[in-house]
Symmetry: C2
């Protein structure tokens, strides 16, 4: 992943230079804390690459890149409260290190800081347009998170509803990251549409892959226990496909597991076996590959540049990741 | 308050016409719920008046007026979680009617909807400028809320710190409401500065008045029990002034009350007596009146119009409110 290093270094340096005030400490310390934790910075890197692919210097898109990274971190702070997650990237989550009120408020503050970053774009960038794209993207993320929470109490979620949910929760911000880079470069509508397509396809592929890796990855490398999603009774792509395709007896048993929210080690092993016997994992891999292929196809619209090459490498790297 | 009715009716009608999507329900139902509750709509009315005072049709500022009302409601949803408040305007709060996760998320969504309203301003309004003013104002509200929460665990809060806190928590959004109206009317910097001054003075006067009314208002009319702030151990303007001006014995007793967070009926009566005997209530009234006078003075900059007359009446009404 050496080709990503210069992009990541640029983002880290810019984050380091962010001038967040010192006080009130309960507002700003959590923002500094989460921004200083080790992260891959995939979204802002996509913004830089998109600007480069559309013929602009990547530096011009830095405020937009920072904006998406800050919004991503805002959503992590708030999602971790909702999901009652204790740790993130190896560190205590904000609501655990401080408390829920501090996490709510510092998340709010971080969202505002994110949107404020766009004020730093050069005057020739269409501020109203980039703001609209950004805000609508964040709203889609909220919609996705709401659907995800609603799914917890439902046993009749369809695969289509799932794809719609991850379009918001995971893919919308990835699409926005790319489109904002394009807007900074004054790309035409055709190119913006292609960037949008790359983002949504990539986001959906990535999320389905996460669902697959939950049952096939080496837990040591993946950093999560095998079948973690199953233990939690999550409605992943695999689980929904299994529910749609298995026989009546298996379905009744599955529904019972999900209803009672008591899934033990044996249940997890049996569910993983069912994934195999019904060909669910292979089908999911095929859908994932279709989304990666859609992203690669949309990428063809762009001229050959170093940035296009780098994005192509990044897509390829993600496609082949094993954790 | 008949003179306010046409403004309030316009705002209600515009809120009624807001096109929030139907689903996901957990994202949008709470937003519709809080917007439909009975409210005074003071902030958006100030935006309309400011636009009118600066020579513009008030209709032009409607998107900005909606934006401040939506942000106000966002802050209510999140503050009520932090303050563990069960009811608001006679209705169950969002986190009680639904749950904390739904309240966090729908609050986030409402904040985005608020900022999106500015997209509907006519193209001749300086979008980047009005956005900057708005976002910085919301950030000040977050700062104020953070300081207020920090004060809960401190016994050495000064009156100056308190004034700084309410400048954020209460006054910043009132100032922003007025300034945004001015920006919609393309007012010059002198007028914008005067609107800002009116807003901050009005906001601080209003908050200190709330602190005073807690101990002198008719609880029936005020809608809160007498001394409610004292029972909660709140560091109000009166409490901080008392701590600064009382003798050592009274101070030790007070500090003890606040430390142990056990304030009973007798304690409340004694504290109200101390407010009287040390002249704290009168001093607070005097400071409140100074802030109202500052607002009225800044208002003099504007030409005589119906809108200036209405704002003057509104200030006068607030100054003389008894609950």
């Amino acid at each position: 992943m050496d080709f990503l290093k210069p992009y990541a270094a640029l983002i880290e340096s810019e984050i380091h230079q962010l001038q967040l005030p010192g006080t009130p400490e309960t507002l700003y310390a959590p923002q500094r804390y989460i921004l200083s934790s080790k992260a891959k910075r995939v979204r802002p890197i996509l913004t830089l690459m998109a600007a480069g692919m559309c013929g602009e210097s990547i530096e011009k898109s830095i405020p937009a890149a920072l904006a998406v990274e800050l919004v991503h971190n805002f959503s992590l702070i708030h999602d971790d409260i909702m999901d009652q997650a204790d740790s993130r990237r190896g560190n205590a989550t904000v609501h655990v290190k401080w408390d829920a009120s501090t996490a709510i408020l510092s998340g709010d503050g971080m969202l505002i800081q994110a949107i404020l970053q766009l004020q730093n774009l050069p005057p020739d960038v269409d501020y109203k347009k980039i703001n609209r794209i950004f805000l609508n993207g964040i709203n889609k993320v909220c919609e996705g998170q709401a659907s995800d929470m609603e799914f917890e109490d439902r046993l009749d979620v369809t695969t289509d509803e799932y794809l719609e949910m991850i379009s918001g929760k995971t893919a919308a911000l990835i699409a926005v990251s790319l489109v904002m880079g394009g807007i900074c470069a004054k790309a035409d509508d055709e190119k913006l549409e292609a960037l949008n397509e790359i983002g949504y396809s990539l986001g959906k592929a990535f999320q389905i892959q996460d669902d697959i890796l939950d049952v096939i990855a080496d837990p040591e490398k993946f950093g999560k226990r095998k079948g973690g999603d199953i233990y939690e009774g999550k409605k992943t792509y695999l689980m929904l496909q299994l529910l749609e395709h298995c026989n009546k007896d298996d379905k009744n048993w599955l529904i019972n597991c999900l209803k009672n929210k008591t899934i033990n080690d044996d249940d997890v092993l049996r569910i993983i076996e069912l994934y195999e016997s019904y060909g669910i994992t292979d089908e999911a891999k095929s859908v994932m590959n279709q989304f990666y292929a859609k992203a690669e196809k949309a990428l063809q619209l762009f001229e050959e540049t170093k940035y296009k090459g780098d994005l192509s490498k990044l897509i390829n790297f993600l496609k082949n990741r094993e954790y």
